[in-house]
C-alpha cells in the first residue's frame, strides 16, 4: 500500500471533489429563488446546521496554520482552540434566537438585512456590507491559494502531474468551488459542509490516535521533550507570551459571535427550538476536528527537537510532513480530503455572504431597493467573485505578497470588532443606536487597517485586533448611551422582549 501512497491521496481528493460537483447538481434542483440561494429557505435541520457551523469555523487555517503555529510558538495558539467552545456558547446566547426571528419576520436573506431592520439605517447596512466584501476578498484569496498550493504538492508527487503549475491548480480547485456554489448556492454549500464536517471529525480523531503512538511514552513524552528544550513554549502562554495569548483568547472567544459566515447560518434552521441541540453538536464537532491542530503541532515540535525529523523549512509544513512520515496512506488520503473540505467549507460560506453583500445589500443601501432577478445575478456574481479572488491570490503570490496579507487582516479580527457589538449586543439592547453602530464599525476598520498599513505594533506582542475589538465595544456602548434613540419598529420592539 505504501508504494501507492500518492495515488491513494490523489484518489481520495478526487473522490471528494466529484462528491462536491454531484451535490451542486442535486442542490440546483432545489434552488428556485434568492431566498433558497442565500439562506436555504430557512428549512435546514439541526444536524446540517451544526456540522455546517463548525466546519465553516475551521478553515484551511485550522488544518495547516494551526499545527504550524503550535510547531512554531508552542501552546500559545491552544487559546484559540480552547476558547472556541465559549465562543459558540456566546453566539447562541446572544445571536441565534434573535437573528432567526428577525430573518423570518422581515424575510431577511443576509446579515446586513438584519442590521438594517434592527437599526432602521441604510448607513449601517452599507458599512456592514462593505466590511463583509473586504473581509471576504482577503479570506477567499488566501483560501484559494492554500487549496492550490496543497493540490500542487499532492499532484506533483505523481508521475503524470509532476510538473503541474500553480495556475493550473488554482483553475482546477476554483472551478470545482465555483461549480457547486453557483449551481446549488447555500444548499449545496451546507450539504457539502455536512460531509466536510464528518470528514474533519474522522480525520481529527484518527490523527490523535496516530499522534499519541509516535512516541513510546505518548503525548507526555512529547511534551516532556519540549519542556526540556524550552519550558515556556509548553507552559500555558507558549513562546508568544501572555499578552498575545490573552489577545487570542478575547478575539477568538468573543469574536465567534461576530463572524458573518457563521451567524448567517443561524438564520437558516427550520425551527428556533432546534438551537438547543445545534449548540452542543457544534461544540463537540469542533473539538474533535481541532484535535488535529493540537496533536500534530505538539508531535512535530517534539520530533524536530528530538532529532527524529529534520527541521521544517516553514512551520506550515508541519501537517503535510506529519502525514507523509507518520500516517498510513489511507489515513493521509482521508486527512488531505479533510483539508480540502476545511478550505472549501469556509470558502463557500464566504462566497455566499460576499455575493449577498454585492447584489443585495449594497444596491439596497444605495438605491433603496434590490435588483431585479436576484437569483440570476447571485449566480453570476458568485462566479465572478471567486474568479476575482483567484486572480487576486495569484497576483499576490507572484507580484505583491502584502496585498493578501493586508486584506487578510480584514479577516476574523475585523469581523469580530465591527460586527460583534452591532449584532451580538445590538440585538439584545433596545438602547443601541445607529450612531453607536457606525462608530464601532468605523473604529474597528480604522484600527485594523491602520495597524496593517503603517506597521504599527504594540508592546508585549499585544494584538492590534484586540485593541480594535475592545475599543469598538466601549465606543458602541458609550456612544449609544449618549445619542438619541430612534423609535424601534413595533415588530422589532416586541421581538426583543421575547
Amino acid at each position: 500500500m505504501e508504494g501507492f501512497r500518492q495515488e491513494i491521496i490523489v484518489g481520495a481528493v478526487l473522490l471528494y471533489m466529484v462528491f462536491c460537483v454531484v451535490t451542486g447538481i442535486w442542490a440546483m434542483r432545489r434552488t428556485h429563488n434568492a431566498s433558497d440561494f442565500f439562506i436555504a429557505g430557512r428549512g435546514l435541520g439541526p444536524i446540517v446546521i451544526a456540522l455546517a457551523l463548525f466546519s465553516s469555523t475551521l478553515s484551511g487555517f485550522g488544518f495547516v496554520g494551526g499545527p504550524g503555529l503550535v510547531y512554531s510558538i508552542g501552546v500559545s495558539s491552544f487559546w484559540i482552540v480552547a476558547v472556541s467552545s465559549t465562543g459558540y456558547a456566546l453566539a447562541f446566547f446572544l445571536v441565534a434566537k434573535r437573528i432567526r426571528m428577525i430573518a423570518e419576520m422581515r424575510d431577511c436573506i443576509s446579515l446586513p438585512d438584519v442590521v438594517a431592520a434592527r437599526y432602521k439605517s441604510q448607513t449601517v447596512r452599507l458599512l456592514i456590507a462593505i466590511t463583509i466584501v473586504l473581509g471576504v476578498m482577503g479570506y477567499l484569496a488566501t483560501q484559494i491559494l492554500a487549496m492550490a498550493v496543497v493540490m500542487q504538492a499532492i499532484l506533483s508527487g505523481t508521475e503524470m502531474f509532476a510538473s503541474i503549475g500553480l495556475v493550473t491548480c488554482v483553475i482546477i480547485s476554483s472551478a470545482v468551488l465555483i461549480f457547486y456554489c453557483v449551481s446549488g448556492g447555500i444548499i449545496a454549500s451546507v450539504y457539502t459542509d455536512l460531509v466536510q464536517g464528518a470528514i474533519m471529525i474522522v480525520a481529527g480523531t484518527l490523527i490523535l490516535v496516530t499522534a499519541t503512538s509516535v512516541f513510546e511514552g505518548g503525548m507526555q513524552e512529547a511534551t516532556s521533550i519540549i519542556v526540556a528544550d524550552d519550558s515556556e513554549s509548553m507552559m500555558p502562554f507558549g513562546a508568544a507570551g501572555i499578552i498575545a495569548s490573552m489577545g487570542w483568547f478575547f478575539v477568538f472567544g468573543l469574536g465567534l459571535a461576530g463572524q458573518p459566515h457563521l451567524i448567517t447560518k443561524m438564520m437558516m434552521n427550520k425551527k428556533i427550538s432546534d438551537n438547543r441541540t445545534i449548540l452542543p453538536m457544534s461544540v463537540i464537532g469542533y473539538l474533535m476536528a481541532a484535535l488535529l491542530w493540537v496533536s500534530i503541532g505538539v508531535i512535530m515540535r517534539a520530533a524536530v527537537i528530538d532529532g527524529r525529523i529534520a527541521p521544517l523549512a516553514l512551520p506550515d509544513d508541519a501537517a503535510s510532513v506529519f502525514l507523509s512520515v507518520f500516517t498510513n496512506p489511507l489515513l493521509a488520503g482521508v486527512v488531505f480530503a479533510g483539508l480540502f473540505a476545511a478550505i472549501m467549507s469556509t470558502s463557500d460560506a464566504f462566497l455566499n455572504i460576499g455575493t449577498a453583500a454585492i447584489i443585495h445589500d449594497i444596491p439596497k443601501a444605495i438605491r433603496g431597493k434590490s435588483i431585479q432577478n436576484e437569483l440570476f445575478w447571485a449566480r453570476l456574481v458568485t462566479a465572478l467573485l471567486a474568479a476575482v479572488a483567484a486572480a487576486f491570490a495569484l497576483y499576490s503570490h507572484y507580484q505583491d505578497a502584502t496585498l493578501v496579507a493586508l486584506l487578510g487582516a480584514f479577516g476574523w479580527g475585523t469581523f469580530a470588532a465591527s460586527i460583534f457589538p452591532v449584532v451580538a449586543i445590538g440585538l439584545n439592547w433596545k438602547g443601541a443606536t445607529a450612531s453607536g453602530a457606525i462608530t464601532a464599525i468605523v473604529t474597528a476598520l480604522t484600527i485594523n487597517l491602520g495597524t496593517q498599513l503603517f506597521g504599527i505594533t504594540f508592546p508585549y506582542g499585544m494584538n492590534g485586533q484586540l485593541v480594535a475589538f475592545v475599543s469598538s465595544m466601549v465606543l458602541f456602548m458609550g456612544v449609544s448611551l449618549f445619542t438619541a434613540k430612534t423609535k424601534l419598529d413595533q415588530d422589532i420592539n416586541r421581538m426583543m422582549d421575547i
Binding site: F93, K97, M105, T223, M235, G238, A239, G253, K430
Partner: protein
C-alpha cells in the same frame, strides 16, 4: 421593566469593557522586557522559544490575571444579557454564578500552577501535558460546558419558553394579517 433591567446590565458590560481597555493601556505603559513575545530558537530556524518566563511576567503578570478574570466575567454577563430579563430568575443567576466560579477556578489553577513552576522549575503532568497547561487546554475548553448546559437543558425555561413560542407565532400572524 425589561428595558430597565437590560439597561442596568449594559452599564456592567460597559464598566467591564472599560476596565479591559484600561488594563491594555497600563500594559502599554509597563516597563518593556526583551523578547516578551518570544525569540528565535537557537538552533532551529522555523521555531521560536519563550525564554525567561519570570522576566516576561514581571511587569504584566498581575494585569494579565486581572484581564483574564474580567474577560470571563464579561462572558457570563454577556450570556445573561442574551437572556430576556424576565427569565433571569434567581435559579438562572445561580447557574451563571456557578459557571463563573468554575472559570475562576480554572484561571487560578493555570496561573498559580505556572507561577509555581517558574519558582521551582518542576512540574507534574496531567493527561499528557504539564499540569498548568492541562488546566489551560482542558480547563478553558470545559469552562464553556456549564454555559452550554444552561442553554441546552434550560432552553425551555430561560431561552425560548412555550410562551415565547406562542408570542412569536402571534407576532408573525399579526404581521402577515397586516401585510
Amino acid at each position: 421593566m425589561d428595558i430597565k433591567q437590560n439597561n442596568k446590565l449594559i452599564y456592567v458590560l460597559l464598566a467591564i469593557s472599560s476596565a479591559l481597555a484600561l488594563i491594555l493601556i497600563l500594559i502599554g505603559f509597563a516597563e518593556p522586557v526583551a523578547d516578551a513575545g518570544g525569540t528565535n530558537h537557537p538552533s532551529i530556524a522555523s521555531m521560536k522559544i519563550g525564554g525567561n518566563g519570570a522576566a516576561r511576567l514581571a511587569h504584566v503578570g498581575n494585569y494579565s490575571f486581572a484581564f483574564i478574570c474580567l474577560v470571563f466575567l464579561l462572558i457570563v454577563c454577556l450570556a445573561a444579557f442574551g437572556v430576556s430579563a424576565k427569565k433571569r430568575t434567581r435559579e438562572f443567576w445561580i447557574y451563571v454564578g456557578a459557571a463563573f466560579g468554575f472559570t475562576m477556578l480554572v484561571s487560578w489553577k493555570l496561573f498559580m500552577g505556572h507561577q509555581a513552576f517558574l519558582e521551582s522549575g518542576e512540574t507534574t503532568y496531567s493527561f499528557g501535558f504539564p499540569t498548568p497547561t492541562a488546566w489551560q487546554l482542558y480547563g478553558a475548553w470545559l469552562c464553556a460546558i456549564p454555559l452550554v448546559a444552561v442553554y441546552t437543558l434550560g432552553f425551555r425555561k430561560f431561552i425560548y419558553t412555550a410562551e415565547d413560542e406562542e408570542s412569536f407565532n402571534h407576532l408573525l400572524k399579526s404581521k402577515s394579517d397586516t401585510d
